[in-house]
Symmetry: C2
């Protein structure tokens, strides 16, 4: 399956931003950014780590028809990691993936973001 | 946040393997492999695409205390994609991530697996 996997490792994010510690705010951010990008969410899961204070982050994922988006927040460090992975089956979703990552980066407004782009593809070995 | 992200794109997987089309079987496989590797699952979500026949795959994720595991199956193509992403905060989880990926690869027994290893790290820019 050919695909594009974008990762971004953010630093210097304001820990007071609601999506850093509020699962509902992070879910809404992801949902809106996915819809705006033209990708399709099919299910979502957001987990808040205990204790639920300003030091505890969220780990969450939205499963897409096109693969997945994952977000982990580290309010105590001002850090966030983002994954946007899309398969390119039927149509090329690369531009949608880039638009989604851009929207998430804009929302978190980090001082710095280390972005990597990974082309994914299986060998075309048919099963014997 | 320093971390290790392993991706594997599998081809030539037997579509009759239960984890290819049965969400409960895939969830059990992930749960067992995570436990054996020494990582810690905190929540999970598995979605079966419609129609629920031999041609429809599963997309799923287990959120870890250490980040996440994601699996997408494509029974119609004999394909599977795997992600194992661990942060190395507090301790180095790289060996556990490799063990988990090995266990999943062994279970899916592909004809071919394209494995990539991505070192993830944010710049250490403190927020001003």
């Amino acid at each position: 399956m050919n695909g594009l996997h974008l990762t971004a490792d953010l630093s210097g994010v304001d820990p007071a931003l609601p999506p850093m510690t509020d699962p509902a705010a992070l879910a809404a951010l992801c949902r809106d950014a996915i819809a705006a990008s033209g990708l399709s969410g099919v299910a979502e899961l957001f987990h808040r780590f205990a204790p639920e204070d300003a030091q505890s982050g969220i780990t969450g994922v939205v499963l897409l028809a096109e693969s997945h988006v994952a977000v982990h927040t580290w309010p105590e460090l001002g850090g966030v990691t983002l994954d946007v992975y899309v398969c390119n089956y039927g149509s090329d979703n690369s531009a949608r993936a880039e638009a989604l990552l851009d929207a998430l980066l804009k929302a978190f407004a980090p001082c710095d973001a280390a972005v990597q782009r990974l082309t994914r593809a299986a060998a075309s070995t048919p099963r014997q």
